[in-house]
């Protein structure tokens, strides 16, 4: 029994080590492919089919990595910044595939930006190659893992929405200024960017909702040494709820006020800016993720 467990541990160790090398290469390859489609050096007819297959392959590889990592270290990729950056790379690509690539008629310029960011995040995680820390007991709790995973998915979706928003504003400016260069040619239409951005925002909103609900469940499950008020006023809880409200409002405002185009994009981009600024401030002040851990 012990030998079997040791053998399993050793094989997982090897698998994790190998995938840690392969994953950035796979993301890099995908980013290179998207770069080629972006600069139109590939035949249009084959672009989307290959891009989608490539993305599915990288996601499958990363799923194996997450599975092996979780089985071996007994926690998900949520304990450190470098573990998280790998999870964000995965979620970013997954959300991109579901928000755009699966339903698109052709690969757009956004794929290049998304895969390039995912590649950098995975590269960072693989290069750090840190020994997983002694984890707290909470990291083994399934609800906690779901809570973190859903919030990573949520933030990744919002990051993607921000990429779409950024590209929207870039293209908007190019058109206004009569700059008909690479941005004008290779980035999808304003209409489509807005549609994909909204889809990503909706994804993000759903995942953040789940994350908040799971967080509340955790409070009632785990004996935390804080009052309910202190729990609710934890900076990250406050910030997540704020971001959730902003993106929820984006979706609501669009329907209720028929807000479209640049104004809507500016609205959700301000939500993302709020996220980035508050994240930076909170991480700078705080020492652990939530004030009560």
């Amino acid at each position: 029994m012990f030998r079997k467990r040791a053998l399993f541990g050793a094989s997982m160790d090897v698998l994790v080590a190998v995938l840690r090398i392969i994953l950035p290469l796979a993301y890099g390859g995908l980013a290179f492919y998207f770069a080629r489609t972006f600069f139109r050096t590939l035949d249009q007819a084959h672009r989307l089919r290959h891009a989608l297959s490539g993305a599915y392959f990288v996601l499958a590889l990363h799923t194996v990595y997450i599975g092996a990592y979780t089985a071996h270290y007994r926690h998900e990729l949520v304990a450190t910044v470098f573990e998280l950056s790998s999870l964000i790379a995965f979620t970013l690509l997954a959300v991109y595939v579901f928000a755009e690539l699966r339903t698109s008629r052709e690969t757009s310029g956004t794929g290049f930006f998304v895969t390039a960011i995912a590649f950098l995040l995975q590269l960072l995680s693989s290069i750090a190659n840190e020994t997983p820390p002694e984890t707290k007991a909470i990291l083994h709790d399934p609800i906690f893992n779901l809570h973190v995973t859903t919030s990573v998915f949520g933030y990744a979706a919002l990051m993607l929405a921000a990429i779409y928003g950024g590209l929207y504003l870039l293209l908007f400016r190019s058109i206004r200024r009569n700059e008909f260069g690479a941005i004008f040619e290779h980035i999808p239409s304003l209409d489509r960017l807005e549609r994909y951005g909204l889809r990503a925002s909706a994804f993000g909103f759903v995942f953040l909702t789940l994350s908040i609900v799971l967080g509340a469940m955790l409070y009632s499950r785990i004996p935390l040494n804080v009052t309910a008020v202190a729990f609710l006023f934890d900076p990250k809880v406050v910030m997540t709820v704020l971001v959730w409200i902003v993106f929820g409002a984006t979706l609501l405002v669009r329907r209720a006020m028929r807000m479209e185009g640049r104004r809507l994009v500016l609205f959700w981009m301000s939500g993302f800016a709020l996220t980035v600024i508050s994240m930076t401030v909170i991480n700078w002040i705080g020492t652990s993720f939530h004030s009560f851990f």
Partner: protein, 427 residues
């Protein structure tokens, strides 16, 4: 090489539009012309940019003069004008003709480099030739290769990408803001040629709701009847130009192409319309008229994208330049396919030479056997017959293969010539 393939061409390269128009053929005229040359395999291609007659025969070379006179007769060109018109024609022979046809079908010889319409027009010309029984094995084979060349150029180069005309650039520009026209309300102001072309391009891009605003409702109606042939599902309305402010607030894309000397739309009218607009989605306004129809200051209004003909010209110029850069790639494909086509034709010619060689060897073998028949018993004769047949087959196998193997046309032809001379195969 046996057979002759020639072409007579009048195109935008040499002839002005009025000459091309005078010699452009309708489908009926094309059919009549095809019927005039039963001795040739004939292809007639006639578009607004060119009228070309291709003729192939394995016999005597077709007479260019005969083709030209037939065309003049058909178009009722007066005798005194014919001499002048001859200067506008180009004549092409064999390999040049094939290269030219491939250049035409790929669009590199078009006035708008990379024009995609020409592919369909050449296809139609081959179809007509087939329907009129003016095609034979040569033209059928040539059509297959020509279509392959065109498809390869489309997939392997970017020769056809990007808008290369103002009206198409207007539609492509609008697609950068709204890529799906099905849900959009499009307003076309004017019923002239540019407005009609823009409407056609929008319909090609699956626009479903188009309003045509024009001073003359009758002209707008005529234009609609012409473009409707393309797509009968679209909702095409007519609006008197005075009622423009009424519909403006519901419009997503506007293209203006009138010959008016004053502004058709002013800033204040558009400002009012924007206030009444039910959503904050952008309004795309494209002015392809000269002088301009839309007051330029409209472009500074929020959520309005206003572009004029100069803005679009810069897109067109950029695309045209990029298309020109693709020409060498397209030419390389043409050269490769042309060379393979000629090699394949030459290989077909190897067959008769090999057969003649075999016949010659067989005749010698038979003659020698006959001479010695009396000296041998029946069994020995049969053995000798079998042995010499096998020897002959083995000796001729390698030359037969070698005559067909080379991919170079000139090489195949040189070998065929040598064999025919060495063995005295020509009568």
């Amino acid at each position: 090489m046996t057979g002759n393939f020639i072409a007579l061409s009048i195109s935008h390269r040499r002839a002005p539009v009025e000459v091309r128009e005078a010699l452009q053929l309708s489908e009926e005229e094309t059919r009549r012309l095809l019927a005039q040359f039963p001795q040739f395999e004939t292809l007639v291609l006639s578009t607004c940019n060119r009228t070309e007659i291709y003729a192939y025969t394995e016999e005597e070379k077709p007479s260019l003069e005969q083709l030209l006179e037939s065309l003049f007769e058909l178009k009722h060109v007066a005798e005194e004008q014919r001499a002048g018109l001859r200067n506008f024609f180009e004549t092409l022979e064999w390999e040049e003709t094939i290269r030219h046809l491939f250049a035409v079908i790929t669009g590199i010889d078009s006035q708008i480099v990379g024009d995609q319409q020409i592919f369909a027009q050449v296809k139609e010309a081959f179809r007509l030739s087939e329907a009129e029984e003016a095609s034979g094995a040569f033209l059928r084979k040539l059509s297959q290769v020509a279509f392959r060349v065109a498809k390869r150029v489309i997939t392997e180069t970017t020769l056809n990408e990007g808008a290369a005309t103002i009206s198409y650039a207007a539609v492509e520009f609008a697609r950068k803001i709204y890529d799906d026209f099905e849900e959009r309300h499009i307003l076309i102001i004017g019923a002239g040629e540019s407005a009609e072309l823009a409407t056609k391009h929008f319909l090609d891009r699956r626009a479903r709701r188009i309003t045509i605003a024009n001073r003359s409702v009758e002209r707008a109606r005529e234009m609609i009847s012409r473009v409707r042939a393309n797509d009968s599902n679209a909702e095409l309305d007519i609006l008197p130009i005075e009622e423009l402010p009424v519909v403006l607030s519901s419009v997503d894309i506007l293209v203006s192409a009138t010959s008016a000397t004053d502004y058709v739309l002013t800033r204040s009218t558009v400002e009012e319309a924007l206030k009444r607009k039910s959503s904050s989605s952008p309004m795309v306004m494209i002015d392809i008229a000269v002088p301009r129809d839309l007051e330029p200051s409209i472009g500074t209004l929020p959520n309005v994208f206003l572009k004029d003909i100069d803005d679009l010209r810069s897109i067109v110029d950029r695309n045209t330049e990029r298309r020109r850069h693709e020409i060498p790639k397209a030419e390389a494909i043409i050269e490769e396919e042309r060379s393979q086509f000629l090699a394949a034709l030459s290989r077909l010619q190897a067959g008769p030479t090999i057969k003649a060689l075999r016949d010659k060897f067989e005749a010698v073998r038979k003659e020698e056997l006959e001479r010695n028949k009396g000296k041998l018993d029946e069994k020995s004769f049969a053995m000798l017959d079998e042995m010499t047949r096998r020897m002959m087959n083995r000796l001729l196998h390698t030359p037969a293969v070698e005559l067909k193997e080379s991919s170079e046309t000139a090489d195949i032809l040189a070998r065929l010539e040598l064999v025919r001379t060495l063995f005295g195969l020509d009568p």
